[in-house]
Symmetry: C2
């Protein structure tokens, strides 16, 4: 397993030179505390914790997995000690309010910290990661009493949280939720039902676990309009804040999974567990949607995390492993063969990983600024601004979640492929990256769900294509600004053509959908992937623009070689990956009937 090294050069390049985080932070009400020294301290502290504490537990955690016995879950060796260090370092509270013990730093710093933690050890990162949704829900919808009861411990990290949505019969289609909440005399509720796939649903890292549970009140309307939210703590909390009686929410089993084996995925049985209504009755699903965008960005990070780790694993191997001679002549003449990094096809796999990791990182870091703005608006009580930023982020979310996790999985597979047969052997750790990354296109809304959200809700329903027109206008403006830079001309030209094509495809599907409703679904994944490739191209062009400007001016924090490498990877992306758009474009415009007209019973004549 590759030992994780935080890519601080790239992180700082993106934060300081491409996305101007310092100026961005100045616009936030809590931005003044995110000064250069604080940011450095956080980046280096997180890097140290991830490289030295979390990374060494990644492969051992996978090999050992979680243990389930008598309703209790034991995490792998070393996880509890690492989690204690995480708590002691104050890492959970980084971006939560000081009022509840947090450090009130911008959300983006928390996302960047999560990226490092998740790259070093995704399974570990799941435990504190799930708490975030729980904390945000209580912060936004909880009563003062609920906040005071739960938030200090959750923000400290000595308690953790979960989101209990999925049931055996439904995941995406939450209107089918059956769990029940019966009112009790004291104003609380008796919650009953079975929840599955609950990440961090049971474990030994914290003193208490606070579950946010979707359930139905008696006589609630059917479907999505009859779902309410409840806080159900594993241990009831006494009036003085101390841990009270065990609540009858028990772990029935944990799942045996392909990957992220050190992350406990629990089946939770609620058997008249005491719960507390949070937010308005029957409006639980809307409340969930408030943080869906940020939650999905959190999952999109998994794409770049695994691309980065796969690259870190395959690069040294490609430099060391000797096999055959390069086609253009011996590169290591004194050796028995050339290192495989000298074969162009191996470089293709390395550069694809690098392009995904660094291109994806810039997309995430941009979205993180929108998350900052949302959070800032919330703090200021500016609902209109919150919603505007949420809408803006809502366009990026399905693309980042859907596209980056698909590409992250591709990158993980390239990393393994560079190793040849050795990649298939557990010892090297490369196959674990593939297994761990495979979940990312499934949970928090599958790729298909993201694709339908993008084209159905965000592009067609909400905006009749305006969101694409606006976004391509932004790209074209950038292209205009770059027209005189000789390094940038080919990028600007390719982007200009693709913007026209993106709009044309949108209009074509919009018109076709009037008569062919299913085309929205049949075109969706192609449209998502097309959109993702163009968006990533724009972000690579931005990186190349900064790099070429720094090379021209001789300024910048990095060496000229760093900037030259950025331009070369951008070139690679435009020449070797961006052409994939054309297959998606050609496929998506076909009518849906080729997909929909085959009768269900004719998919097979043998079974």
């Amino acid at each position: 397993m590759p030992a994780y090294k935080a890519p601080l050069h790239d992180i700082r390049f993106l934060m300081n030179e491409v996305l101007d985080y310092p100026a961005h932070y100045q616009t936030l009400s809590n931005g003044d505390i995110a000064d250069a020294d604080t940011i450095d301290m956080i980046l280096e502290g997180a890097a140290d914790f991830c490289e030295n504490i979390l990374s060494p537990l990644n492969q051992t955690g996978d090999a050992e997995g979680c243990h389930f016995e008598n309703g209790e879950v034991k995490t792998p060796k070393g996880f509890k000690e690492a989690y204690d260090q995480f708590v002691q370092g104050g890492w959970q509270g980084l971006s939560f309010p000081e009022e509840f013990g947090g450090q009130n730093l911008p959300q983006s710093l928390n996302l960047i910290k999560s990226e490092m933690m998740g790259t070093a050890n995704w399974s570990f990162q799941m435990y504190p990661g799930l708490s975030v949704g729980c904390i945000n829900t209580i912060l936004q919808y909880g009563t003062a009493e609920q906040k005071n009861t739960y938030l200090p411990k959750l923000v400290e990290g000595t308690w953790s949280g979960t989101m209990c949505l999925t049931e055996p019969q439904c995941g995406t289609d939450l209107g089918q939720v059956k769990s029940k909440a019966e009112p009790l005399a004291d104003g609380s509720y008796a919650i009953s039902g079975t929840k599955i796939f609950i990440s961090a649903g049971e474990h030994d890292l914290t003193e208490n676990i606070v579950h946010i549970v979707l359930a139905r009140l008696p006589d609630a309307p059917a479907g999505t309009k009859g779902i309410s939210l409840f806080i159900v703590p594993k241990f009831n909390v006494n009036a003085d804040g101390s841990i009270g009686e065990r609540n009858p929410v028990t772990c029935g089993s944990i799942e045996h999974k392909m990957g992220i084996r050190a992350s406990a995925t629990a089946v939770l049985n609620f058997d008249n567990a005491v719960g507390y209504l949070i937010g308005e009755p029957n409006k639980g699903l809307q409340a969930m949607f408030t943080f869906m965008n940020t939650a999905r960005i959190g999952t999109a990070i998994q794409g770049i995390a695994h691309a980065e780790l796969a690259f870190q694993g395959s690069l040294p191997y490609a430099k060391d492993r000797m096999s055959m001679r390069a086609l253009s002549g011996k590169k290591d003449p004194d050796k028995v063969a050339d290192a495989i990094i000298h074969h162009a096809d191996v470089r293709r796999m390395l550069l694809t990983q690098k392009a995904i990791a660094e291109g994806g990182r810039s997309m995430i870091y941009y979205a993180a600024q929108l998350a900052d703005k949302m959070s800032d608006a919330l703090t200021r009580g500016d609902t209109a601004a919150f919603e505007a930023h949420d809408d803006h982020l809502g366009f990026y979310t399905p693309i980042l979640k859907g596209f980056l996790t698909e590409l992250g999985y591709e990158a993980a597979n390239h990393g393994m492929q560079v190793y040849g047969g050795h990649g298939y052997i557990k010892e090297w750790g490369m196959e674990q990256i593939v297994r761990d990354s495979r979940i990312s296109t499934l949970y928090e809304g599958t790729t298909g769900v993201q694709a339908l959200d993008l084209i159905g809700r965000k592009v067609l329903l909400s905006s009749k294509g305006k969101v694409i027109r606006d976004y391509t206008a932004e790209i074209l403006k950038f292209c205009g600004q770059q027209a005189r830079n000789k390094y940038m001309r080919r990028f600007a030209w390719d982007l200009t053509k693709l913007c026209a094509q993106w709009n044309a495809l949108t209009v074509r599907i919009m018109l076709a959908a009037r008569k062919d409703r299913n085309i929205v679904s049949s075109a969706s994944t192609d449209f998502l992937m097309f959109s993702g490739y163009v968006m990533m191209a724009y972000f690579w062009a931005q990186q190349a623009a900064v790099a070429s400007a720094k090379l021209a001016s001789g300024e910048g924090q990095e060496t000229p070689e760093f900037y030259k490498a950025k331009i070369k990877v951008a070139d690679f992306y435009f020449e070797r990956m961006l052409p994939r758009t054309q297959g998606h474009a050609e496929s998506m415009v076909n009518p849906s009937k080729t997909m929909t007209s085959l009768p269900v019973e004719h998919f097979s004549f043998d079974y």
Copy 2:
């Protein structure tokens, strides 16, 4: 884990209606014994064995894995009993000469049997599968004594065989092989060295294991021209054919792998083990090449095997699982939601799997006919015919091995994706298919190695593009024949354009390679995938042509619905998968410098 059901409708459609196996068999010297009744008996017997004996052991074998203790390997529960049944059924000898106990049936029937066995349980199929290479080597290069000593037991299946090529420092680049062979006084050799990744290298299924080992004689030339082949049995064989002393070839460990966990992958230590030279000294590698094409077709089968099994697993789930409503209106109005098979994007994943499984199967079954012809030429002692057919098959081999295993892995991932989060849970068995299939792009030559073999050796070096000109001429002839069939027009037109493009791309790369040697490598994988998609399109068009002719005539062994479904899947392939060619076409023609010019030390500035 889906219970395997042999897709006999599709198998018979391809054999009888598309590829006219009956007529093909008439051209073979051993074709008369492959009459309709015999074929039926074999297909049904194999289906029965695979469905009832092998399939139930697939998931349990993965969960249990192989056990290694004190140099011995125990296969998972049930494997030994199943293997005994395999031997009793005479399945190993299906296509080997009667002289050594075989049934002398055409090779193609053995490949079809292997497909069924591999789909039901790929790990199991590895054990008898590896024997085939060993048997072929002894058949072709062994002395009469060697044949009589080893073949009867190997053909019976009571002994098994391996191919020992890979060493820790080399896999693809066999010129680096270090294992040594010292001549002994009695004419045998003392073999020493370490071989890794030896499939079926040690196990408890057979009485003896016959290793074919690559090693160097003293003073052998360096590199690939100094490698000889040796037979090294696990147990020496006494003059009367009985098992003798244990030979010092010992299993040091078995690998812990991502998948095919019930297949033992051994590290073998040869410590002055007694070996017998087979074939000419220093010509071992050429001898290996004799059967490389058939061995690679055997691995290409893995692509369709996993595509088939993933489809068999995801189809019933897509019919059962209820989630959301179809965009074009309720399909299951009485249910809480529609079955997910009614969502176009889910159908995209199902149809992609089906297109890969059935399109790939037709490609394999065609190649199997070439294997028959090779084998027939060998029997007749017609070396020229053998080489002509081997050359012909040599064009298909890298495409089938490289392209079909990549698409098989894609299909396995779609199968898992249809299950949503449940796909990630071991219980369902879908993630095992992904893990098992992942090896197929790595062993028997990675995809990159296949790609270089195709464009470098087969297209440019051996034929200066003629092989593409000839193949596209064949496709264009077919298109001409179909021009008047209204069902076929769009297929013929698309194929015609792609044939022109395929030739143009070949010429363009050939010309570019004069100045830019590395383009052969930088273009290789794109060229392989482009070639694969066009070839699969031709095979889908052939299936559609037969189906439309049968619909028109009202004849044929299948129902009209079967033929209509074939045309719909062909439509799907042309509209939704074939457009991917355009991304590959655009990417491959770019000069190699974008890939090759980044200095090795600038791939990262952090590690």
